[in-house]
Symmetry: C2
DNA sequence: TCAAAAGTGTTTCTTTTACACCCATGC
DNA sequence: GCATGGGTGTAAAAGAAACACTTTTGA
């Protein structure tokens, strides 16, 4: 990392979210020689689009080229990074002098929300971190700086924009059952739906295509498998699904 | 303006919106010696909260201390400012050398949405501009750089967040008639409401308090004047009004 | 044949919509 | 009194919610 290639002042942190074990999970990296975790992030190159920078950073971290990624808020408090904590984190690692002084500069950070499928991700660490793990969004470990706030705001964004985000398409596998779709929205909105009414509501949207059935091995009827009608799905994202 | 006090890389531009003549209007400033208009904006001081910077800049421009102000998007294209245009704008004014070279640096800009009452504003120009005017949001003049995009995104934000923005409270006078409230939402959503049903909808929200009647001088019944119940209003902003 | 879970249908209640009616005001 | 626009009431239509019924599957 050649410091001279990067812009000061503004960094990027991404909240990667997946749906796993009937829960939303967030990807975190552990800082070297510490018990603190942080969001995958990075810096912006000179002459680079900010959106492009966010994609580049996530590509390095996950190997994913195509994923839903959207900025949601600039975290702009002057004292957003605890100085003491920053010093301690830097002390434990022997970065080259130029990297250390770069990291000590003040940075606002732009928060991005990314929606991914856990099984498509091969997450890896960066030069600041030595471990990489998914955590249920309801039980997160200690994090550096204002990263807990960033995740909290991402959650709010997720709820408020629920009608305009490609949640099903980004978080579920290509084919899925009605039950898993319902479960996803129940978790997102923290609210139970009536199974029968959920069916009707979704079918009225005309966004699902039956692709077969899933043999569960259970002693009951096999549920249908669906996939999304891409054209109709895009249309719904424009108009809003009308969930809440 | 002492350049050394300010951060590079990131600037601020605000879309000030008022409701006047049954239309939404935007405040623009005209660049000195040019036919191009721009949003009121500025730079961030070292060690300053970004939100605070946006307030400081608007205070200088409008004299308003309290107003609704919220960031809505970072405009992060590397080439968002047309170089040719920038050069031409700078050529026509004799800024000190340090200011010129400051302005020539690359800047991303953070867009803020501000909701104001036109009559409370005493808008004035800054060192870059010589005129200041409100324009109907539907008929805007030529603007510099990506400022048309910024306004377009602000409009989208306004529509999408309509349920969570204090539109009535920020854009209408302290007391107002049901008709003017209806008109505001009709303009915002570009959609007509049935007068009777609008009454019922609003009354069910239990957010209005009757404060008297307005003598219009017209040969018909005087409409009631209302004001908002502050406590209930805040509550509604949290939950969302449920308009669209 | 039974239990379990998926899929579908029906009834009820609530909300939305359309529109009619009444009321105050100035000429 | 009458035209005008504000305020209120009512009936029809649409939509949401609750819940019962039917189907499929493996044991």
């Amino acid at each position: 990392m050649n410091i001279a290639d990067y812009l000061p002042t503004l960094s990027i942190d991404s909240v990667l979210i997946c749906f796993h074990n009937e829960e939303l999970e967030v990807l975190l990296l552990r800082w070297k020689n510490s018990d603190f975790w942080s969001l995958p992030g990075g810096f912006i190159k000179k002459n680079e689009d900010v959106d492009q920078a966010a994609r580049r950073i996530l590509l390095e971290r996950t190997g994913l080229k195509h994923l839903f990624l959207e900025q949601f808020q600039l975290f702009g408090k002057a004292n957003r990074r605890d100085e003491k904590q920053l010093d301690e984190l830097l002390k434990t690692i022997n970065f080259p002098e130029d990297v250390t002084s770069w990291l000590e500069k003040p940075f606002y950070t732009l928060g991005f929300l990314a929606l991914v499928r856990r099984e498509e991700i091969n997450a890896c660490t960066d030069q600041f971190t030595d471990q990489c793990q998914w955590f249920p969004i309801q039980s997160l470990p200690s994090m550096i700086f204002d990263h807990p706030d960033i995740i909290a705001e991402a959650k709010k964004q997720l709820r408020r924009q629920v009608n305009y985000l490609p949640l099903g398409k980004s978080l579920l596998p290509d084919t899925f059952t009605m039950k898993s779709l319902q479960l996803l929205y129940e978790v997102l909105l923290n609210k139970k739906f009536d199974r029968a009414n959920f069916h009707k509501k979704i079918h009225k949207l005309q966004v699902l295509i039956k692709t077969g059935t899933l043999s569960t091995g259970q002693s009951n009827k096999s549920p249908y498998l669906y996939r999304f009608d891409d054209k109709r799905y895009e249309q719904l994202m424009e108009e809003g699904i009308g969930y809440v």
